[in-house]
Every structure is written in C-alpha cells, then in structure tokens.
Symmetry: C2
Subunit: 250 residues, 2 copies
C-alpha cells in the first residue's frame, strides 16, 4: 500500500541494567514507576527492547505471551486495521505510557504498534506483576479512564475543537515529561494526526493555518509553539457538545 513496507523490530534486547525502576531515568514520568513509588518494590522489568523508526514492536494477530510494555523513550503509534482495510490510529504513546494492557486477557494482539521514531520500550512480564496487585490494578484502571477521556474529546464536534484538544493534550504530555509545554516537536506526520482526529489532511492543514493566523500558535514543520494556550483551551472547551482533555490524574 505504501511505497515502502514497515518491517518488524529486530527485538534486540538490551541488558536490563536495572532490575527495578528506582534507578531508571525515565521513572519520574513513567506510570508504572510512579504508581509504585509508595510500594516497597517497584515493578520488575524483564528487558528493554529497541524499536527502530518505522518498525513494528508487534502487530495485530501476534501471540501475546503474558507481557505488556512501558515506553522508555520515543513515540509509538498504536493502530487498528478496519474491516475495509484502512488503518486507524488508536493512540500515540510517549515515554511512560503503557502499551498492550488491552491484550492481557487475550491470546493475540488486536492492534499493531509501530515506532514513529527510534524508540525503546520496557517489557514487563505480566506474572511479575501478580505479586503487586494494587500497583497493576491502579495502572490498568487508569488506562481505562485514559481511554475514556481520549475517546471523549475525540468526539468533539468541530475540527478546530478536536485539533485544539489534541494540541493541548500533546502540550500537557510534553510538560508532564519535563519538557516545555509551549514548544514541542510532533513525532507524527500530518496524515497521522488527521487520521487520529478523523479529519482529512487538507482540513487539518487549514485549521492549523487558521490557528496560526489567529495568533494561537506557530508552526514550523513539526515544531509547534503555542502562543495562546488559554484561548486554545477555550476553543476546545467551548461550543456546544464538547469535551476537553482534563488531565486530573497521572
């Protein structure tokens, strides 16, 4: 379908230089590490896996094997293929985000995970988590809430609303990870954003131009600089039947 096909990750495992997350430099923004910070033993990660840009970590139909993943660094795109053979993007995952929690109860994966840039993910053995049920349940429950919130604002009526919400979401997620909330680089293409927001790429481009023209932000390629986050938030919130990313938690 595309000019070049996406290959599978080489799955080169790195030596797990730490058996827990206490010394992990990603811990401050990693959900498993954070959730477990009150617990005596942070979760055990079995290994870290390199996933080069445009390679798959797993794809729909792969056997699950009792493990899930936390993004160490990079960006992962989680996609589903529809009955009419179209790719639909379910989520963009950044460092600390959890991947494949939805597969725990199943033998095979539902979706495909592709790296948008060179990335690394921590593989977490599900059975290692059994001994810390509260930790796992907290993570998993937050994941459900997260899905709901996203699904929520993704149903915002207007194109501008959805885009504004998306940008605020990205801003927040960068901020949470210690980066600037004003200026950040999008790891994904316009097409991917359009796909995720259920817009045509043209419409996305126009809305972005509109925002720029209104002094809400500046755009250089994939580099975004927010100029008026307050008004952006109002845009996302306002109008009639709208929702906005709340981010009360995690």
């Amino acid at each position: 379908m595309n000019g070049f096909s996406i290959s599978d990750a080489s799955r080169s495992a790195m030596a797990p230089d730490q058996s827990n997350c206490t010394r992990c430099r990603a811990a401050p923004f990693c959900i498993p590490a954070r959730t477990g910070q009150d617990a005596p033993h942070p979760p055990v990660l079995s290994r870290r896996i390199r996933v080069a840009r445009d390679t798959r970590l797993f794809q729909a139909g792969d056997l699950v094997g009792e493990r899930f993943y936390a993004i160490y660094y990079g960006t992962i795109k989680y996609t589903f293929t529809t009955a009419s053979n179209h790719e639909k993007i379910g989520a963009f995952l950044m460092s600390g985000d959890l991947l494949a929690l939805d597969a725990i109860g199943f033998r095979r994966h539902h979706g495909t995970a592709v790296a948008l840039e060179d990335s690394e993910v921590c593989e977490i053995r599900y059975d290692c988590m059994q001994s810390r049920p509260m930790l796992l349940h907290g993570m998993i429950s937050k994941q459900i809430a997260r899905e709901q919130i996203t699904a929520h604002w993704l149903r915002n009526s207007g194109a501008g609303q959805r885009l504004a919400a998306f940008l605020l979401d990205m801003s927040w997620r960068h901020y949470r990870r210690g980066y600037s909330a004003q200026r950040f680089r999008l790891a994904m293409s316009r097409q991917d954003i359009a796909n995720f927001l259920a817009l045509s790429p043209e419409c996305l481009s126009r809305e972005l131009a509109q925002f720029r023209q209104d002094g809400l932000l500046e755009v250089e390629e994939r580099e975004i600089t927010l100029r008026d986050a307050a008004r952006l938030r109002q845009l996302a919130t306002d109008s009639s039947p709208a929702a906005v990313p709340v981010h009360p938690q995690v």
Copy 2:
C-alpha cells in the same frame, strides 16, 4: 435542565441470596461469571442493588469505596459532564456488563450512572477479587479492549455508518444475552442515541427513516426489527475510513 431531576437510587440492598454466581440466572451472559467459570470459585458478590428508572447509582465526584458493579438486569447509562456543562454519554450497559472499573485506581468516580429502566446491579467488592487476579485482570483487560473497539467505530465518518454500527452492536448484545438478534427494544431515547453517536436528533431520525425506506429495518417507537443485517453490516463497514464492531470476544 430537564423538566424533572434525576434522583439518587434508594440503594435498597437485596439479600444476597447466593454468595457466588453459580446459581445466578444471569450467569450465562455475565462477564464475571463467565470469565470465572473455569476457576474453582466464581466471584463473590456482596449484594444486589435496585436502581429504579431515572435514578442514579452513583454520580461523578462520589467516593468510590473499593467496589465496582456488574449489571444484573436492566440498562444503565454512563455519562460524563463536559467542561461546558453538557452531558455526554459514554456507554450503555446491559446485563453482565461491568461498571466503574475505571474508578478502581481513583478516589472518586469520573462519570454518572443512571438507570434507563428499572434495573438491578451486583456490587462486587474489589478486595474480594484480589484473591483471583487472573479473573479480575481478564475482566479488566477485556474492558479496555471494549472501550477501544467502541471508540473505534464511534469515529466512523458518516451518520449512517455510526448508526448502522450502533444497531448491529445492540443486536449482537441482545443476541449474546439469549434474545432475538432481529427484534429488540431500545431502552434509550432518540436523544440519548443521538448524543452517544455524536449526531443531532434530527439527523438520527432522518437516517432511521432512510434505513426503513431502504428496507433495512422496521421501526415502531423503540422497537427495532432488523430486516437486512447483512446490508446493514456492509453499510457500517464500507465507505472509506470506517470501522465496524467486530465482537470476536466475550
């Protein structure tokens, strides 16, 4: 906002006539009961709660209290209130469906649960589930997958597509519970459906009329009779960037 306000459930607890689900008549279609059917001990339910029509089981902000619910019978509407004070429907829950799993990791509920008809829910104490982690994790993971699938087809582009997908979903869920897949009664109003599908009530009405005119189904009030499910499925699947409820599981 409405002519009359929704009151809280009286929370009249029924005597838990069974301490497990083996003798529950809802077990065949109940997720906890089904998921645990291979386990030696089905999950313990602490009590069953009557929720009269138009009363709340809980609302956003309520303290959670380490429990979640499985619908015993009836229909529950799970809603969120947006920043602009509009109600958005997150899900319609039927017998066997799980409610408030998303709240386990939090102190307070995010959404509000209202009964659309006289209903009963089984209250499940979270700590009772700790001893059967596989069971709980299976349920909870399936819940995530469910959210994803729903969010998926809810982003279908066309009004007709979303409506078709919704009707097929309802049909399937009735079928799974031992009722007719062809003929079923919708527990929710047109407004609620429109809200859930992110459509105007007028548009919903028109699409429904169109379907009827095309011989896809018959409509009498809230009674739906599917006449051509195959074509309905094609409608939901076809077109460009569309998804359709798959229902491979549970």
